[in-house]
Symmetry: C2
Subunit: 103 residues, 2 copies
DNA sequence: TGACTATTTCGCAATTTTGAGAAATACATT
DNA sequence: AATGTATTTCTCAAAATTGCGAAATAGTCA
């Protein structure tokens, strides 16, 4: 089910990212899509908990899911989010993207 | 008191932005610094409530305050945050900054 | 000093979020 | 059809957040 990000209030996008488990998920998805089983392992919480975190991210339009075979794969739909996180965490890597910032 | 942003966990930066009143505050500060009285008016909540929202933003390293005369002035310390918000809200204005994103 | 002004801190009730386990779904394989 | 695997939904108690009014601070001005 492809959820469109349009019309999600800005603060809900931030709220969705305001939890360490969900930041971990977004970072895990930065390079490639992953099934829930992989994310459960990376996050280190129970299945039901991770599943709920994923639905928060999905409702905020940050990720989307695809069912393929037995597994559900999640991917980022807002690449700028993972870039922004990377910038917050190591500003030096983004000299021209966020000039005068994150420093 | 100048709070340094270093060492604030990433998810706390997002959590601080995950509330409509605090988004309003950041947007009000995007163009220029403002005293608390102006922010109270823009946000439309009580003084004590706005003050607490400001302390959340301050602890996240997003704003800093300066006492001058009778008033306390707040300003953005992380300009990329307001740029990121602007991008989320009107992606079309940031074609080269967040390529392939926010669309 | 005393009164004022601008802002923050405190205490409280209402609401929301979190994590977990059990139960429910959905689909694939035998 | 029966079984098994992957994931989601539901329910619940604990913890965190929100907004408010009252009280506390801090600095200014008469």
């Amino acid at each position: 089910m492809k959820s469109t990000r349009t019309q999600v209030p800005t603060h809900d996008v931030f709220k969705a990212l305001g939890h360490p488990a969900r930041i971990t998920i977004v970072q895990a998805l930065a390079s490639e899509e992953r099934c829930v089983c992989e994310l459960v392992e990376k996050v280190g919480l129970g299945w039901s908990t991770v599943s709920r975190h994923l639905s928060v991210l999905r409702e905020a339009g940050i990720v989307a899911d695809d069912k393929r075979g037995l597994q559900v794969y999640y991917r980022l739909t807002l690449p700028c989010v993972s870039r922004f996180i990377a910038c917050l965490e190591s500003p030096a890597d983004f000299p021209q993207l966020f000039t005068g910032c994150c420093s």
